[in-house]
Symmetry: C2
Subunit: 557 residues, 2 copies
């Protein structure tokens, strides 16, 4: 990479601008750069660094196949470069590959100085697994970049480039370690610009990994991460700085924009990484994700079906936190099988949250279906058919409110249900955002407790009564499923950790529970295919990162 | 690659076994190999070649992340190798990458001789675009393989390896050309084993491309392709052989299993590729895809909502062809807005096809919704809300029949509707297979004509009346959409060809039509996210190969 002519100085002040950009909103994203530049100037920074692909937004997915999208991204980069007069800008953008072979684009970072793009670094390691599709559009760089910024030699890397050090990983996805390659070229410090998505435990892993890099190579490392939600992906921010000894010196806020003003000549004392209970972290993640999804899709109001159970209670409470109670409408849709307690619990929740509330009894509609369908159902005994009809009536009612008033329907199914197909397509699965579809049932309860610690709203009864879909008399979830404690452990091993059935059985779970659970996961792929987008909070969510064929015959369960 | 000890002979007889394997059905797939081996033995073949990843099925997607899946695939390969006593077997399987770096697997082909795996060739060029995700799981080979089979030097390549010749393509996805690399090592002939999916025009493209390879290198080329449907992907077979001068000598059947018994010493005369009208080809593709999806998912019966329009008529006729008229149930669900003619057309169609038929009037249910919802809708005037309620009632009725009797619901929406969101989520979009969701409306009409040429069943009136959703009085599709002729041309340019808006406008379409159409495509991503899997017949279907963010602000329209 080209050396920049700027005079070397002893002290460099860098602003790590942890921000939330919107995919395809080039005008808005440049405005965020402009705002941060104002803060940088006031703080006397020499450099401002933004996250990976900040200009187009991350992940832009197949939008990058539109020539007009790439052109708009280049136009935005020129606008940003023009802002880099006194203060340098480091920012992620999409670069065309002009070589004539390979993928047409690079995932790149521009270094802008004196009104122009002075240097570019390209990403070498392109994650193409789980939720990531970078190999689909980008050509990998074959060399690691060291660039000169504000007189310093900077090992400038992009996200995954820092995730393949042999010192840290037992098995590796790639053969190269771009950080080591940079170290061998000689650097003053490392700067990693990322769009590294959140999942439980990811923050601590990053701290450990970046500390290891700094220790190994004896140089400070700065990490600036994206924050905000883009469809299923939640970015937690938590930008950080470790010194050359591997001590943590800065850590940015989680799930909110932040400025880290880093003076490499005068860093604050070492600190321990901020740690919280999983459920507190997940709660913040979901609030941010809900707010961001709605904002970026242009919704201001949401509607939630309130059954009086824990799932819908938690969803309503998170929605109220995310967009304001006045913008949330809870709807109870009792049928002949609904208990009086459920209706009371739902109403109490709505009152406590201060959200709108409505009761729409569905029995008249259900009766009309039963009468209309009777000749076609040929006198067959009731089964899940009639249960599903009720769930689908509720879906239709919520969608009618959505269509008429512009609310986003929030679905309330949790990950345990979605895994085993204990949910109704076009029924309770109907909606625009599946807020807790990556949250196992046991964690939903913990979220409920955490919500009540922040502000009591969910009635105690919701935690203690047996979970039930209330679609037939005296139904409980445990008529059909193992106890949620066991179910969630089995699912975590099977879905998240990809453990084979033998290894799960060796843990001592009831064999029938294990086999039934796995068989249910296997045969419900078709439901998940049509599920609403969900917010990812675990290392393996159903959705983008779970790509199973439907028409297939492999069975473990 | 290792040389095999077999004595060279002047004549080699190869059976190209164009077959349909099922993903994860290792026992069934080995049984197909055994059946083909019997035919090969009887025909005096020296070698039998099967398609790419034939043992695990293609595409196995994330199933390959299960250790038990890889182990079962290895076990099946041992079973196949044991069959290769007198006749060699060339077959696609998943190979572990034991190198410790990079992706854990290779997309490989085994050459089995004398009861064991004698050689392995690995895929170099891994398609990771459109519907393909091979870079997600497989490590590319870095060299092209020449193996000795039955005494001949064979350039053994896998699908995409043959799709990057600089002689043929103006722009290239990769820098290497494995076919040329093989030619440079010296080969007697090329053998390309593939799972190359169908789209309109793909067959002719393949013939041209393979002829070019043979001509360029002066060697014969044999191509064995998968046949059958796996979720969205349809494989058309059409295996072929070109001689060293580039003349086509063999061409396998389209959309059906076939045996090509190739004696390289005595080939039949050159022939022209078989060509048919697009609609005839697409019809065969959809019949095969419907049959295969249902069989592989374990369904024997299907239900279709019959509106009396062209879409549902074509879907019912294809279903009757695919699984037998006796296994198809047509259901008319008239409302207050349905015309008498529509009901008559639906009944006439069902009679002509000989499928089951039922009328389930939905007005009583619709009335119950209207009364139940009235207090919540606050007297707002009717709009699409009430239209969607009706569509969702129909979806619920069909799903109830499906739940009670085990029919697969076939959705009837076409590509034009899905593109512009002229369809109702959880309404007419409800179902397990979206049979014509990649067929533009104008092509749906052509399919209808082609079906009637084969066997008259669709009433003439269905072709001539104005298309209407019949969800409000006197509604027609053209109240909301441009004429389908123009719409489909705009969509083909925008969706399939990725043309920028300026280029489309330059064709002279009405500007408002173009902008409205593109804007509708852009803002209906959320509906497509929850669509049923559809059968892909064009070069760009919504589904696997169309990966757009929902929460994004880039707008061309």
């Amino acid at each position: 990479m080209r050396q920049l002519g700027r005079t070397e100085r002893n002290i460099v002040k860098i602003l790590l601008a942890q921000r939330d950009s919107t995919i395809g909103d080039f005008v808005g994203n440049v405005a965020i750069v402009r705002e941060a530049m104002g803060r940088a100037g006031a703080a006397g920074a020499d450099v401002v660094a933004f996250p990976e692909l900040f200009l187009p937004g991350y992940p832009p997915r197949d939008l990058v196949e539109k020539p007009s999208f790439i052109a708009a991204n280049e136009h935005a980069l020129r606008d940003v470069a023009a802002l880099a007069t006194d203060v340098a800008i480091v920012i992620g953008f999409i670069e065309r590959n002009e070589s004539g072979a390979g993928k047409r684009l690079f995932n790149s970072v521009a270094v802008c100085e004196r009104g122009r793009v002075a240097a570019v670094a390209r990403k070498s390691l392109l994650p193409t697994y789980d939720v990531f599709d970078e190999g689909r559009h980008f050509e990998p760089a074959t060399t690691a970049s060291v660039v000169t910024i504000a007189g310093k030699r900077v090992g400038l890397s992009i996200c995954e480039d820092a995730w393949n050090a042999p010192e840290f990983w037992r098995s590796r996805n790639y053969s190269r370690d771009p950080i080591r390659e940079q170290a061998e070229q000689g650097v003053d410090f490392f700067l990693n610009v990322s769009a590294s998505p959140y999942s439980v435990g990811r923050g601590e892993l990053r701290v450990r990994m970046f500390r290891e890099h700094a220790r190994t190579h004896g140089k400070p490392l700065l990490f600036v991460n994206l924050v905000g939600g883009n469809d299923e992906l939640l970015f937690d921010g938590r930008s950080l700085v470790v010194d050359s000894a591997g001590a943590l010196r800065f850590e940015g806020r989680a799930f909110a924009a932040d400025d880290l003003l880093v003076d490499l000549g005068a860093m604050p004392p070492a600190r321990e990484p901020f740690a919280r209970a999983d459920e507190e972290e997940v709660l913040d993640a979901l609030v941010m994700g809900t707010r961001d999804y709605m904002r970026k899709c242009g919704f201001t109001r949401a509607v939630v079906g309130l059954s009086g159970g824990i799932d819908s209670s938690v969803v309503a409470a998170i929605a109220a936190d995310a967009i304001g109670a006045a913008n949330v409408l809870g709807v109870s849709m009792p049928s002949r099988y609904s208990s009086k307690g459920s209706l009371e619990d739902a109403r109490a929740l709505a009152d406590a949250l201060g959200i709108g509330y409505r009761v729409v009894p569905i029995d008249k509609i259900f009766q009309a279906y039963l009468e209309t369908l009777a000749p076609s159902l040929e006198g067959r005994p009731p089964d899940t058919t009639e249960e599903n009809v009720q769930a689908r009536i509720r879906g239709n009612v919520l969608m009618a409110l959505s269509n008429k008033f512009g609310h986003l329907v929030l679905t309330t199914g949790n990950k345990s249900e979605l895994a085993v197909g204990y949910c109704t397509l076009y029924g309770d699965m109907s909606g625009g955002l599946a807020l807790i579809s990556d949250v196992p049932k046991t964690l939903v309860y913990a979220l409920g407790r955490a919500l009540n610690r922040r502000r009591p709203s969910i009635p105690e009864n919701v935690f203690t009564k047996a979970p039930s879909a209330e679609l037939r008399p005296n139904q409980t979830d445990q008529d059909s499923l193992p106890p949620y404690d066991a179910l969630d452990q089995i699912l975590e091993r099977y879905v998240e950790k990809r453990e084979p059935i033998d290894q799960i059985l060796a843990q001592g779970f009831d064999e029938k529970w294990v086999r039934d659970t796995i068989a249910r996961v296997e045969r419900n792929e078709y439901k998940r295919k049509q599920a609403a987008p969900g917010l990812r909070v675990t290392s393996k969510a159903f959705g983008l990162g779970w790509r199973m064929p439907i028409a297939q015959k492999f069975r473990e369960g």
